[in-house]
Protein backbone atom coordinates (compact mmCIF):
# COMPACT_ATOMS: atom_id res chain seq x y z
CA UNK A 1 0.00 0.00 0.00
CA UNK A 2 1.62 3.24 -1.06
CA UNK A 3 1.58 6.23 1.26
CA UNK A 4 -1.93 7.56 1.00
CA UNK A 5 -1.11 10.95 2.41
CA UNK A 6 -2.69 12.87 5.26
CA UNK A 7 -6.25 11.99 4.23
CA UNK A 8 -5.73 8.25 4.07
CA UNK A 9 -8.66 7.66 6.41
CA UNK A 10 -11.09 9.25 3.95
CA UNK A 11 -9.77 7.24 1.04
CA UNK A 12 -9.99 3.99 2.95
CA UNK A 13 -13.42 4.92 4.32
CA UNK A 14 -14.69 5.61 0.81
CA UNK A 15 -13.46 2.31 -0.58
CA UNK A 16 -14.56 0.53 2.58
CA UNK A 17 -18.08 1.89 2.36
CA UNK A 18 -18.29 0.99 -1.32
CA UNK A 19 -17.20 -2.54 -0.60
CA UNK A 20 -19.55 -2.87 2.39
CA UNK A 21 -22.57 -1.50 0.53
CA UNK A 22 -22.02 -3.74 -2.47
CA UNK A 23 -21.40 -6.76 -0.22
CA UNK A 24 -24.59 -6.08 1.75
CA UNK A 25 -26.61 -5.71 -1.45
CA UNK A 26 -25.16 -8.93 -2.88
CA UNK A 27 -25.81 -10.74 0.39
CA UNK A 28 -29.48 -9.74 0.43
CA UNK A 29 -29.99 -10.68 -3.20
CA UNK A 30 -28.29 -14.05 -2.82
CA UNK A 31 -30.17 -14.77 0.42
CA UNK A 32 -33.45 -13.90 -1.27
CA UNK A 33 -32.62 -16.13 -4.21
CA UNK A 34 -31.80 -19.04 -1.91
CA UNK A 35 -34.94 -18.53 0.13
CA UNK A 36 -37.18 -18.56 -2.93
CA UNK A 37 -35.54 -21.70 -4.26
CA UNK A 38 -36.02 -23.36 -0.90
CA UNK A 39 -39.69 -22.40 -0.77
CA UNK A 40 -40.16 -23.62 -4.34
CA UNK A 41 -38.54 -26.95 -3.55
CA UNK A 42 -40.75 -27.35 -0.47
CA UNK A 43 -43.91 -26.65 -2.44
CA UNK A 44 -42.94 -29.01 -5.24
CA UNK A 45 -42.15 -31.69 -2.68
CA UNK A 46 -45.70 -31.33 -1.41
CA UNK A 47 -46.84 -32.19 -4.88
CA UNK A 48 -48.11 -28.80 -5.95
CA UNK A 49 -47.52 -28.16 -9.62
CA UNK A 50 -47.62 -24.81 -11.33
CA UNK A 51 -50.57 -24.49 -13.67
CA UNK A 52 -48.27 -23.98 -16.65
CA UNK A 53 -45.51 -26.28 -15.52
CA UNK A 54 -46.32 -28.69 -18.34
CA UNK A 55 -46.11 -26.18 -21.17
CA UNK A 56 -42.92 -24.65 -22.46
CA UNK A 57 -44.26 -21.12 -22.38
CA UNK A 58 -44.61 -20.21 -18.75
CA UNK A 59 -46.94 -17.39 -17.94
CA UNK A 60 -47.15 -16.15 -14.40
CA UNK A 61 -50.64 -16.87 -13.08
CA UNK A 62 -50.31 -14.25 -10.37
CA UNK A 63 -50.35 -11.52 -13.00
CA UNK A 64 -53.97 -12.22 -13.72
CA UNK A 65 -53.67 -13.20 -17.34
CA UNK A 66 -56.47 -15.37 -18.64
CA UNK A 67 -55.05 -18.92 -18.99
Amino acid sequence: MPDLGPHAAFILAAYGFTFAAVAALAFFIVADDRKQRQLLADLEAKGIRRRSANTAGASKPARGRKP
Partner: protein, 245 residues
Protein backbone atom coordinates in the same frame (compact mmCIF):
# COMPACT_ATOMS: atom_id res chain seq x y z
CA UNK B 1 -35.59 -10.50 -27.16
CA UNK B 2 -38.82 -12.52 -27.65
CA UNK B 3 -36.92 -15.62 -26.58
CA UNK B 4 -35.93 -13.88 -23.37
CA UNK B 5 -39.54 -13.04 -22.65
CA UNK B 6 -40.06 -16.56 -21.44
CA UNK B 7 -39.27 -16.64 -17.71
CA UNK B 8 -38.15 -20.24 -17.75
CA UNK B 9 -35.66 -19.58 -20.50
CA UNK B 10 -34.49 -16.50 -18.69
CA UNK B 11 -33.88 -18.54 -15.55
CA UNK B 12 -31.94 -21.05 -17.57
CA UNK B 13 -29.83 -18.36 -19.21
CA UNK B 14 -29.30 -16.63 -15.88
CA UNK B 15 -28.08 -19.79 -14.25
CA UNK B 16 -25.44 -20.23 -16.92
CA UNK B 17 -24.43 -16.58 -17.08
CA UNK B 18 -24.05 -15.80 -13.40
CA UNK B 19 -20.90 -17.77 -12.60
CA UNK B 20 -19.04 -16.25 -15.56
CA UNK B 21 -20.19 -12.75 -14.71
CA UNK B 22 -19.16 -13.22 -11.11
CA UNK B 23 -15.69 -14.46 -12.05
CA UNK B 24 -15.16 -11.69 -14.60
CA UNK B 25 -16.32 -9.03 -12.16
CA UNK B 26 -14.00 -10.28 -9.45
CA UNK B 27 -10.99 -10.29 -11.77
CA UNK B 28 -11.69 -6.85 -13.17
CA UNK B 29 -12.25 -5.52 -9.67
CA UNK B 30 -8.83 -6.76 -8.63
CA UNK B 31 -7.26 -5.18 -11.71
CA UNK B 32 -9.14 -1.95 -11.10
CA UNK B 33 -8.06 -1.77 -7.48
CA UNK B 34 -4.47 -2.35 -8.47
CA UNK B 35 -4.61 0.40 -11.08
CA UNK B 36 -6.35 2.76 -8.67
CA UNK B 37 -3.86 2.40 -5.87
CA UNK B 38 -0.57 1.54 -7.50
CA UNK B 39 -0.57 2.85 -11.04
CA UNK B 40 -2.58 6.05 -11.11
CA UNK B 41 -0.51 8.98 -9.92
CA UNK B 42 -1.64 11.38 -7.21
CA UNK B 43 -3.28 14.52 -8.46
CA UNK B 44 -1.09 17.62 -8.50
CA UNK B 45 -3.74 19.55 -6.58
CA UNK B 46 -5.65 17.02 -4.50
CA UNK B 47 -2.94 14.56 -3.76
CA UNK B 48 -3.90 11.01 -2.92
CA UNK B 49 -7.59 11.75 -2.30
CA UNK B 50 -8.18 11.81 -6.03
CA UNK B 51 -8.24 8.01 -5.77
CA UNK B 52 -11.74 8.29 -4.35
CA UNK B 53 -12.76 9.36 -7.82
CA UNK B 54 -12.25 5.78 -9.01
CA UNK B 55 -15.21 4.59 -6.94
CA UNK B 56 -17.24 7.78 -6.83
CA UNK B 57 -17.51 8.48 -10.55
CA UNK B 58 -18.32 4.91 -11.64
CA UNK B 59 -20.91 4.69 -8.86
CA UNK B 60 -22.52 7.90 -10.10
CA UNK B 61 -22.55 6.61 -13.66
CA UNK B 62 -24.17 3.38 -12.59
CA UNK B 63 -26.74 5.30 -10.57
CA UNK B 64 -27.82 7.00 -13.78
CA UNK B 65 -27.50 3.78 -15.78
CA UNK B 66 -29.83 2.09 -13.31
CA UNK B 67 -32.53 4.69 -13.72
CA UNK B 68 -32.17 4.60 -17.50
CA UNK B 69 -32.71 0.86 -17.31
CA UNK B 70 -35.80 1.39 -15.19
CA UNK B 71 -37.11 3.96 -17.65
CA UNK B 72 -36.69 1.57 -20.58
CA UNK B 73 -38.23 -1.26 -18.57
CA UNK B 74 -41.14 1.03 -17.74
CA UNK B 75 -41.73 1.59 -21.45
CA UNK B 76 -41.52 -2.17 -21.82
CA UNK B 77 -44.28 -2.67 -19.29
CA UNK B 78 -46.60 0.06 -20.50
CA UNK B 79 -46.15 0.05 -24.27
CA UNK B 80 -44.74 -3.29 -25.38
CA UNK B 81 -46.19 -5.35 -22.50
CA UNK B 82 -42.99 -7.36 -22.24
CA UNK B 83 -43.61 -10.02 -19.58
CA UNK B 84 -40.28 -9.56 -17.84
CA UNK B 85 -40.18 -5.76 -18.01
CA UNK B 86 -41.69 -5.14 -14.60
CA UNK B 87 -39.46 -7.81 -13.07
CA UNK B 88 -36.47 -5.99 -14.52
CA UNK B 89 -37.67 -2.65 -13.17
CA UNK B 90 -38.40 -3.99 -9.70
CA UNK B 91 -35.06 -5.76 -9.46
CA UNK B 92 -33.11 -2.72 -10.64
CA UNK B 93 -34.47 -0.26 -8.08
CA UNK B 94 -32.61 -1.38 -4.93
CA UNK B 95 -29.41 -1.90 -6.91
CA UNK B 96 -29.58 1.56 -8.44
CA UNK B 97 -30.41 3.05 -5.05
CA UNK B 98 -27.34 1.39 -3.51
CA UNK B 99 -25.03 2.73 -6.20
CA UNK B 100 -26.55 6.18 -5.71
CA UNK B 101 -25.92 5.94 -2.00
CA UNK B 102 -22.33 4.90 -2.66
CA UNK B 103 -21.92 7.89 -4.97
CA UNK B 104 -23.31 10.21 -2.29
CA UNK B 105 -21.20 8.84 0.55
CA UNK B 106 -17.98 8.66 -1.44
CA UNK B 107 -18.68 12.12 -2.80
CA UNK B 108 -19.11 13.35 0.75
CA UNK B 109 -15.90 11.66 1.89
CA UNK B 110 -14.10 13.17 -1.08
CA UNK B 111 -15.47 16.58 -0.27
CA UNK B 112 -14.34 16.74 3.35
CA UNK B 113 -10.58 16.84 2.67
CA UNK B 114 -11.14 18.97 -0.43
CA UNK B 115 -13.56 21.64 0.73
CA UNK B 116 -13.63 21.08 4.45
CA UNK B 117 -17.27 20.00 4.74
CA UNK B 118 -19.01 16.67 4.37
CA UNK B 119 -21.73 18.09 2.20
CA UNK B 120 -22.02 20.89 -0.29
CA UNK B 121 -25.10 21.75 -2.24
CA UNK B 122 -23.35 21.76 -5.57
CA UNK B 123 -25.29 20.85 -8.67
CA UNK B 124 -24.00 17.31 -9.07
CA UNK B 125 -24.36 16.12 -5.49
CA UNK B 126 -27.78 17.75 -5.19
CA UNK B 127 -28.97 16.08 -8.39
CA UNK B 128 -27.64 12.78 -7.10
CA UNK B 129 -29.55 13.27 -3.86
CA UNK B 130 -32.79 13.89 -5.74
CA UNK B 131 -32.10 10.77 -7.83
CA UNK B 132 -31.72 8.83 -4.59
CA UNK B 133 -35.11 10.11 -3.45
CA UNK B 134 -36.66 9.04 -6.77
CA UNK B 135 -35.26 5.53 -6.25
CA UNK B 136 -36.65 5.44 -2.71
CA UNK B 137 -40.05 6.45 -4.03
CA UNK B 138 -40.03 3.60 -6.53
CA UNK B 139 -39.02 1.08 -3.88
CA UNK B 140 -41.69 2.38 -1.50
CA UNK B 141 -44.35 2.09 -4.21
CA UNK B 142 -43.36 -1.48 -5.04
CA UNK B 143 -43.63 -2.36 -1.35
CA UNK B 144 -46.97 -0.63 -0.89
CA UNK B 145 -48.99 -2.31 -3.64
CA UNK B 146 -49.85 -5.94 -3.05
CA UNK B 147 -51.36 -6.86 -6.37
CA UNK B 148 -48.57 -7.52 -8.84
CA UNK B 149 -50.32 -6.29 -11.96
CA UNK B 150 -51.14 -2.92 -10.45
CA UNK B 151 -47.74 -2.64 -8.81
CA UNK B 152 -45.96 -3.22 -12.09
CA UNK B 153 -48.00 -0.64 -13.97
CA UNK B 154 -47.91 1.95 -11.17
CA UNK B 155 -44.15 1.61 -10.80
CA UNK B 156 -43.76 1.89 -14.57
CA UNK B 157 -45.78 5.11 -14.63
CA UNK B 158 -43.79 6.54 -11.74
CA UNK B 159 -40.56 5.44 -13.40
CA UNK B 160 -41.45 7.24 -16.62
CA UNK B 161 -42.65 10.36 -14.81
CA UNK B 162 -39.36 10.40 -12.91
CA UNK B 163 -37.33 9.84 -16.07
CA UNK B 164 -39.04 12.74 -17.82
CA UNK B 165 -38.46 14.94 -14.79
CA UNK B 166 -34.78 14.13 -14.33
CA UNK B 167 -33.50 16.44 -17.10
CA UNK B 168 -35.79 19.21 -15.83
CA UNK B 169 -34.61 18.70 -12.26
CA UNK B 170 -30.99 18.65 -13.39
CA UNK B 171 -31.48 21.86 -15.34
CA UNK B 172 -33.19 23.62 -12.45
CA UNK B 173 -30.57 22.48 -9.93
CA UNK B 174 -27.75 23.64 -12.22
CA UNK B 175 -29.45 27.00 -12.59
CA UNK B 176 -30.07 27.23 -8.85
CA UNK B 177 -26.44 26.44 -8.18
CA UNK B 178 -25.10 29.20 -10.42
CA UNK B 179 -27.55 31.55 -8.78
CA UNK B 180 -26.14 30.96 -5.36
CA UNK B 181 -22.49 30.29 -6.11
CA UNK B 182 -21.51 32.53 -8.98
CA UNK B 183 -17.88 32.81 -7.95
CA UNK B 184 -16.64 29.34 -7.18
CA UNK B 185 -17.20 26.55 -9.64
CA UNK B 186 -16.61 23.32 -7.84
CA UNK B 187 -15.72 20.46 -10.08
CA UNK B 188 -15.21 17.13 -8.49
CA UNK B 189 -13.05 15.85 -11.29
CA UNK B 190 -10.51 18.56 -10.92
CA UNK B 191 -9.34 20.67 -13.81
CA UNK B 192 -7.37 17.90 -15.54
CA UNK B 193 -7.53 14.15 -15.67
CA UNK B 194 -4.23 12.46 -16.33
CA UNK B 195 -4.40 9.76 -18.98
CA UNK B 196 -2.96 7.24 -16.54
CA UNK B 197 -5.96 7.96 -14.33
CA UNK B 198 -8.27 7.28 -17.26
CA UNK B 199 -7.15 3.67 -17.34
CA UNK B 200 -8.06 3.04 -13.71
CA UNK B 201 -11.32 4.94 -14.16
CA UNK B 202 -12.27 2.94 -17.25
CA UNK B 203 -11.54 -0.41 -15.63
CA UNK B 204 -13.50 0.50 -12.50
CA UNK B 205 -16.37 1.73 -14.65
CA UNK B 206 -16.54 -1.57 -16.53
CA UNK B 207 -16.23 -3.47 -13.26
CA UNK B 208 -19.14 -1.58 -11.72
CA UNK B 209 -21.22 -2.13 -14.85
CA UNK B 210 -20.60 -5.87 -14.79
CA UNK B 211 -21.37 -5.86 -11.09
CA UNK B 212 -24.69 -4.13 -11.76
CA UNK B 213 -25.58 -6.62 -14.47
CA UNK B 214 -24.60 -9.56 -12.25
CA UNK B 215 -26.66 -8.35 -9.29
CA UNK B 216 -29.53 -7.44 -11.58
CA UNK B 217 -29.71 -10.87 -13.19
CA UNK B 218 -29.60 -12.53 -9.77
CA UNK B 219 -32.29 -10.23 -8.43
CA UNK B 220 -34.50 -10.86 -11.47
CA UNK B 221 -34.12 -14.57 -10.97
CA UNK B 222 -35.09 -14.24 -7.32
CA UNK B 223 -38.12 -12.16 -8.27
CA UNK B 224 -39.31 -14.65 -10.90
CA UNK B 225 -38.97 -17.45 -8.36
CA UNK B 226 -40.81 -15.37 -5.76
CA UNK B 227 -43.76 -14.97 -8.11
CA UNK B 228 -43.85 -18.68 -8.80
CA UNK B 229 -43.82 -19.39 -5.08
CA UNK B 230 -46.69 -16.98 -4.60
CA UNK B 231 -48.68 -18.57 -7.37
CA UNK B 232 -48.11 -22.02 -5.96
CA UNK B 233 -48.99 -20.92 -2.45
CA UNK B 234 -52.22 -19.55 -3.84
CA UNK B 235 -52.89 -22.87 -5.51
CA UNK B 236 -52.16 -24.59 -2.22
CA UNK B 237 -54.82 -22.48 -0.53
CA UNK B 238 -57.26 -23.15 -3.36
CA UNK B 239 -56.69 -26.90 -3.14
CA UNK B 240 -57.20 -26.86 0.58
CA UNK B 241 -60.43 -24.90 0.21
CA UNK B 242 -61.66 -27.28 -2.47
CA UNK B 243 -60.79 -30.29 -0.35
CA UNK B 244 -62.93 -28.99 2.45
CA UNK B 245 -66.07 -28.52 0.34
Amino acid sequence: MPSLANPTRFLDLAGRLIPWLAALTAILFAVGLYLSFFVAPPDYQQGETVRIMFVHVPAAWLAMFGYTLIAIASLGTLIWRHPLADVAAKAAAPIGATFTLVALVTGSLWGKPMWGTYWVWDARLTSMLVLFLLYLGLIALWQAIEELGRAGRAAAILGLVGAINIPIIKFSVDWWNTLHQPASIVRLGGPTIDSSMLGALAVMAVTFTLLFVLLHVMAMRAEILRRRVRAMQQMQVEHAALAET
